[in-house]
Symmetry: C2
Subunit: 343 residues, 2 copies
């Protein structure tokens, strides 16, 4: 980043990002135990330059904490459903404390029998999925995570919201290097990125969104009142529907339509469920074959022709941030400094 | 179908399609036990008017049976790996007899602990995935199936094959009606559909394929010698990579690159693995909420705005075929009647 540009930015260390985030969350009413995991993930977002999931999201977290249905005193309730299934009721707090409470049992089950499911219920979900995926790949597990959101997304062939932005994230551990990880919204664009377009006064690409009357639009403001399309036409639309079903009704939680109703127009973070699936390659592979040689050959075949593996930019940003701290746009920094802070 | 058109077609009953398919497969060297499940699935493809997976595929099955590495005497070997995981070695026969051998244990485990994985190894795979998915939804289970194929597909940003067409199929049981099912190749177009374009002399859409030199092409013949793109840009490419990893190295089987090497230029059906995951909603939902009401509301929100649920056309074709039999193009019928038949 050149000096002219960093002149508009405030440079913070990762510790400063974490401390600032946590103090804002605690001042908004979260307990230390609830604030810490959320602040850590916001810091990871800023560190990896996933700007829509970094400090940019902190004001939205505060807004969600003030949602009348948000439970500031939530204590996650973990249930050992079966040898393969763990359920955790987030009690209408954020997803992350619930995930942390259930993580040891979730991992232990995957290690014991090769596959394990974690259903998080009744959680407000505001964070990216890749930080959760990386916690699992760091333990040698292959992992998938999915959530619904709010019904901002039209199915292929329609113009009205029925589906959520429904992210899916996946991770594959690699020996001696960063894991193969992707995390994408199944909408044509992430909701947070539409907000960033609106803030920057940039138009959306054609074919991404409809206005409230169902007409195609490139206005980010109009799209926020209307509906987005999914990525990938009818295939992306089907995949998004699968995510609705697996992370919603399958685990007895809300679809994006139901979560939107639950929000009751308050525009807080979506409250719904999340499903995570972990696989232990040591068990599923039967130990009979070197799965790393096979996957590394695939990654080389992709990267050697100049195609990018997902997360490459994120890992490069991480290295920069760990060395030099993060750059926060001044207007965002000032917006955050204007929020109440604890301590 | 009007009379002029049916004049070019041969009309067969489903029993006739099954008997014809089985007699060709047995004459090619398959045992009755191996031929029956394959003939049943080809009949289902023809019945549902999935033409690239119906009788059209029978000559390819025969070609595969003649592959020097194909095992006509394969007896699937089922292993109870853990309470959640079943592995079945197809012994280099077709996938379907292996699936049938392992199905009871696979289903029983999902019912017992909520989720279950079936890894099929060392199978020649030539059939659609939705017939397998429908066997699971018929038992009240939610199901996912994935396979690699041959490395005909370029990653986003590349021009050379590294990924397979990598289909993913999903099913959700619906009370009192046909299940929600999708089954799609993660390539921009299915390999079988490119062959159909070539046979019909129809050009491909722009942006679907590269020729052998890595230049964009709309020629189906050139695409068959070059590489396809995935659907959905970098997101579709990431998803295809996930399918490679889950249905390949995770279960200690071949990637599409390795399967292409194994084929050694013979252009038989791909030999590799398949992963199926089954979920029991009765366990994962904790019985606490009516998941059907929630999913039906979602399906209505999609269909009521005129968007199509996947498989709708297939179910309509099924009803027609069950009532009136199937229409087989005369040139295809004559091609099949020219193959050796048993009995």
């Amino acid at each position: 980043m050149d000096k002219a540009h960093s002149g508009d930015d405030v440079v913070l260390s990762l510790d400063e990002v974490f401390a600032l985030s946590k103090s804002v969350l605690v001042a908004a009413g979260l307990t230390e135990a609830q604030a810490a995991p959320l602040a850590r993930v916001l810091t990871e977002g800023q560190r990896d330059e996933c700007h829509s999931h970094g400090l940019f999201r902190l004001p939205g977290c505060v807004q969600t904490i003030h949602h009348p249905r948000f439970n500031r005193d939530a204590v996650p309730d973990v249930t050992d459903t079966t040898a393969a299934v763990t359920r955790v009721d987030a009690q209408f707090g954020f997803s992350l404390p619930a995930l942390e409470a259930a993580m040891p049992r979730f991992v232990e089950k995957a290690r014991a029998i090769g596959i394990s499911v974690l259903a998080i219920n009744n959680c407000f979900h505001i964070t990216a999925l890749w930080p959760e995926i990386e916690r699992l790949t760091a333990q040698g597990l292959v992992a998938i995570a999915m959530t619904p959101s709010h019904s901002w997304v039209a199915p292929a062939g329609g113009t009205k919201g029925a589906l959520g932005t429904n992210p899916i994230a996946f991770g594959w551990p690699r020996e001696g290097q960063e894991p193969y990880v992707f995390d994408f919204a199944t909408s044509a664009i992430a909701r947070g990125d539409i907000s960033l377009h609106k803030m920057a006064g940039k138009p959306l690409k054609e074919g991404w969104a409809f206005d409230a009357d169902g007409n195609p639009t490139t206005s980010a403001a109009a799209a926020l009142e209307g509906a987005m399309l999914t990525f990938g036409g009818h295939k992306g639309s089907a995949l998004s529907t699968m995510i609705e079903l697996l992370a919603g009704p399958l685990i007895a939680d809300m679809t994006s339509l139901e979560s939107m109703d639950f929000d009751d127009g308050l525009k807080a973070a979506p409250c719904h469920g999340e499903i995570l699936i972990a696989f232990d390659p040591a068990i599923l592979g039967g130990g009979s074959r070197d799965n790393q040689a096979s996957s590394e050959r695939l990654f080389s075949a992709i990267a050697d022709q100049g195609a990018r593996l997902p997360s490459t930019r994120r890992y490069a940003a991480r290295a920069r941030s760990l060395a030099n701290g993060v750059h926060v746009p001044r207007h965002l920094y000032e917006q955050i400094m204007a929020l109440p802070r604890a301590g």
